[in-house]
Each structure stands twice: as C-alpha cells, then as structure tokens.
Subunit: 380 residues, 2 copies
Amino acid sequence: MPTLAQLETPALLLDPIRMDRNVARMQERIRRHGVSLRPHVKTNKSIDVTRRMLEQSLGPVTVSTLREADYFAAHGITDILYAVGITPNKLPHVLALRSKGVRLSIILDSCDAARAVTCVVEGRESARATLDVMLEIDCDGHRSGLTPDSAELLAVAEALRSPQVNLVGVMTHAGSSYNCRSVGAIRAVAEQERAGAVHAADRLRAAGHPCPAVSVGSTPTATFADDLTGVTEVRAGVYVFFDLVMAGLSVCAVDDVALSVLTAVIGHQRDKGWTIVDAGWMAMSRDRGTSSQQVDQGYGLVCDVDGCVLADYTVSSANQEHGIISHRTGDPSRMLDVPVGTLLRILPNHACATAAQHSVYHVLGDAGIVECVWERFNGW
Amino acid sequence: MPTLAQLETPALLLDPIRMDRNVARMQERIRRHGVSLRPHVKTNKSIDVTRRMLEQSLGPVTVSTLREADYFAAHGITDILYAVGITPNKLPHVLALRSKGVRLSIILDSCDAARAVTCVVEGRESARATLDVMLEIDCDGHRSGLTPDSAELLAVAEALRSPQVNLVGVMTHAGSSYNCRSVGAIRAVAEQERAGAVHAADRLRAAGHPCPAVSVGSTPTATFADDLTGVTEVRAGVYVFFDLVMAGLSVCAVDDVALSVLTAVIGHQRDKGWTIVDAGWMAMSRDRGTSSQQVDQGYGLVCDVDGCVLADYTVSSANQEHGIISHRTGDPSRMLDVPVGTLLRILPNHACATAAQHSVYHVLGDAGIVECVWERFNGW
C-alpha cells in the first residue's frame, strides 16, 4: 500500500481509530437511554463506513437521497428511512424499492403531499403496494415539518387513512442545535426536540392513529440529550467523522475529527504571509460553517502530515484548486514557512460537505501507510 | 427521451443553445484580437462540452487537475496546460502523460519548484524525458505567481536552464477581475493582466530566454480587454455556461446562463414565507459568490420549469438536500405559493461549483425534453 508521500494530492484521508471511537461513544450514549440508533449515512455514503456504524447488518439507517437507498439496499440493508420530504416524482422509485423487500419509509408534512402519496399508491394495480409514512414534525422552526400543536397535524394523518398507507410514526430533526452557543443551549434544544415529537405522537394516538415510532435526532442533541422519554429512536450521522463545526459546538474535540485532506505546498507569497497549497474549495468544499462560530477556521484547520494540529494556521482563502494558508493574525512574519512539496493535512469545517467532494476515502494505517481505499458515491 | 417531469429531482440541466451562443461570442471576441483561445475545461469536465468549445480537435485546453489532463488526453486532446503550480509528487504523472505524446505544460513560480522539477527530469534515465514549463506571473496580487518586476523571475528562469526543460513562456490569471464593481474596473484589470505578462516576457527575453508564449485570462478580462498587444493566447472557462456571479459583473446577462438545477417543491412554511425544495447545497454547492455583489442571489435565482426567471425569488438558505425559497423582501405574504411537486429551476451562483456537484448534464431539447445526457467527472 502507498505511503502518504506516494499519494497524489489532494486526497481525502480517514483515520479509522478515531472513527471507531466516535461510533462506539455514540452507540454507548444511545444505549444508555434504552432507545435505538438509526445512523444517518448521508455523511459517509460508503458501505464500508456504514458497516462500522451498524450493530446489525440489516440496518436501520437514515438516508437523504434515493440513490443512497438504492446503494445501501443493494448492500443488504433493508430498514431505511428516507428523511427528506417526498415528492410525487419520486414515488415510483420508492415503490420499486419496496417491491424488492426494502422496508423504506418516507416522510411528509402537508395534506398536499399526503393526498398525492395516497392517490399514487391506491392507483397501483397491486393492492399489495403499500407505503410506510412518517410525519415530519417541526420542533424548532428551522426548516420543514408540522408544528406539534397544529390542527394540520391531525388533518395530514387523516389524509393518509388508506389500507395501503401505514402511518408508522413521527420524526423530527433539531437543526437549530447547529447554531447553539453553549452545551446548555444544546441540552435545551434536545429537550425541545424530544418534547415536540412526543407531544405530536401523543396527539396522533389520542386521535386514533397508532404512531408507534418517535424518531428524533441530530449529532449535537444526540450527544447532550439528558432524557429521551417517549422517544423510540435517535438519528445522527456526522458523529462518525466529526468536524470543526462540531468541535466548535463542544460536541467533540478537534482530536476526534477523523477526516482530513492531504495537500501539498505549491508556493508562497511571502510579503502577504501566504503558503499556497493544492487543496482549494474543490477539495475542501465551500462550506464556511465555522464562520459564525467563536473560532472561525476559514476553509479548514492546518495539521502537519502526521495529523498534529498547527493551531495558528487555517486555510484563510480558497479558489477551485488553490488554498491559501495564513497565520490567524495575518502577520506575514509568522507565515507557515515550509518548502514547496511539503505535505500537510487540513481538517474540514463540515464532514458531509468535504467528503462529498471526493470519491474515495484513503484509510490510514500505521506509520503513514494507506491501509486500504474505500469508495463513496454522490448524486441522486 | 424523458421529459423534465420524468426526471428525478434534483438534476443538472444544460441549455445547449445558450452554451453554443456563449462559446461563439467568446471565440469571435478573441479572434478579433488575433490571438488564440485556450479554453479552461475545469468548469465543464466533459468531452461533450469541451468539443463545443474547440475549433480544433487536438486542443488547446487548460486544465486544473491531472485527472482532467488524463481524461482529455484519452479523448484525443494533446495540447494541454496544467495551470496549477506543480508539486514534485505530481511529476511522475506529468512525465507519464508526456511520454504518451501529450504536449502537457506545467507552471511554477519559485526557484524551489524550478530546482525540484529540473532535478526530477534530469534524474530520468531517458534523456528524451523533457518538460515544458511556463512561469506563473502575479499581475494583481490575488494569488500565486512571480511579480513581473521581481529579481526572482530571472532567477527562476535560470534555475530551469537544462537541456531537458523548455521554458515555453509566461502565464497569468487576473483573478481579481471577479471582485470588480464595474466594467471600467474590469477593463483596467485586463490591461494590468496584459501589461504584467508582457513585461515579464520582455524581461525574460532580454535575459536570453526565448519565452514564445504569453498567456493571460479570466472570463471577465477576456470579455472586456481592449488591447491584447504582446499576448499570444487567452484562457477562460466559465463563459461556456456563465452564472450569476458573471451576470453580477455584467460579463453576461442572466439569460445567458446555460446551467440550472431542476428541483421539486417538497413543502412550505407559510408563516415564514418559505417554499422548500429538494435542491440544497448538495445540488447547488455552498458557493455564495454573489453575497459580496450588489445583488445577493442567495444559493441561486429561481425560475419556473421553462426557465423564465422569477426575479423576486432566491434560494435564501440551504441544507444538504433542502433549499428554502423566499421572496427577496422576506415578506411571507409574497411567498412563492406553488403546490408540492411543482418543478422549478435554479440558476447557480458559480457554474464551476454547481456543476461539480453533479455527474451528468441533462441536455435540453425542444419543449421540455431531455435530448441527451452528457457525463462529467470530478476528483484528482
């Protein structure tokens, strides 16, 4: 297997020891609550990574695209939640997967969508065509979903009454946890997430709907939730790799971040204090998630080739295939003065976005060896 | 072939009529200056698109990665400039391509890199191993390159003196043109780009280096340059598709933008004035290039399914697979009130970044038919 010096840069590196530690910690945390964990695999899009996250080979997993559903189903995972609001143009695809024995659930949050879904499945020739549907609940106002107290919640459940539609539960995602400024604030959002989902489920049950599943989650709330009473499963994904946004939220330490981008120095502009590398936004993504946090990490935090953090250096600016590394102070006299060809590693702001720029993970072994290469995919 | 209604969303659409018009206009402009055009193919990464940009099948083209060089060489293009500063770890790859008959040129901007390159090529067993090298010139302080007046310029040229190294010229890229606020400012940057490159070439020639090629370019400066005296070739890439950043610079009209992302409405949050679609940052990229322009287009400008611009609506916020469309004023009473399942098209801020999120172009034919599908690639 190649050494890091033999790789062409830029290249995505994965530290499997950190990854396994991150996975074990989350599993232990969720197990203590006595609920199940349904990993979100949109971050990794790789069967090799996903297998490390699963305690059982059939799942469960959460996906963000039907391409993920296809891929993971083809690898034997049969319990899949597609956690983006369904549109009618995707129902034939959903039904095709279900007809192959994949227990694929969809989500929706409007009477419009509920009627469209019911109409399509009832229009199928085979009465065996069925759909498992979860109602998306808005617990924090950050994106989609029905508010737990709304009249529409019950109306949507009614619109789904059909022998071919199973209302399997409610799900919510406290995306606002990403904008918290303290662990206390994340704990509060976690409780709001739990309470909103449980309240919605209670109302549905009181109206005569079974609603067995109550699904919540985001990596921050899954990490800091004190109480998950009434919840049946937790969804989270980015914890497998972690990233600088999560470190900025105190959800992990910088040393937990399992992904980095290997890059080589291509030049300098000494009067400006710039060290220019071949990891630009194409390799790092344009994600600037730390820009609104206490510590802005630019387009990523710089490490030496062994992964030791050079805490004063970030990728301060990026073009397509160029990254500019400078000292946090901008002081040219403190530039990172290493020769052309020097290898560095950059920790990403957002693991989902950076991984999406690459087609493989180079999995690190001992002493700077790439132990194996794991494929990943993108697209829809 | 499928209609747009038969595509699963999100999907990248390409309008070939706009593309061909954009290409013809740039070719005509550069032809008038009597210089040659070396299209940058990093934007499109597709032989089908690149063939429409080339007047001769062998090239020339500009690339930003060696993977692009491999791919376009495999499709018969033999005149290639790799326009990102070379690092020693990429030289074996460069030499392998050259040994197959590809006229691949590299660039560098330091004595460090010049010595490394010379050392590697002279260390090859075959004296037939040669390298074509261009010196990168910094015409505007925005990124890499040697300043035209610097002593180091001549020192780097000296460090390249070797029977196995051909100093084929100088190249520069006025990246600062992307930050201009007026056409007048772009014209001034174009002249600065020309003058810097020509001055560097003159100094090299006076010192006894042949330096036949003087290569300049960016889409804005290529569009507005008044005078290209002393220049031998122009490089530009994004003009093939154009995008909202270019429209914001007056380099094109919004109606010239040839790329869009087809998306479907998945829900609403009426109290906030949000229409939620299935094109998030995974489909649009995280590029916010218009955020510093006069008109901030969010994550993209909304059109109806036929491509007619809905000028008051942008994707104001994006998660991985969710885009939130709102009225520019944010006024909920003016929300885009269209049903779940409605198809829309989103024009991108930055064509390079948005195209990179997709693996195919769906090429539009008449009446909402997808005429064909062109593949594209990513990675290194």
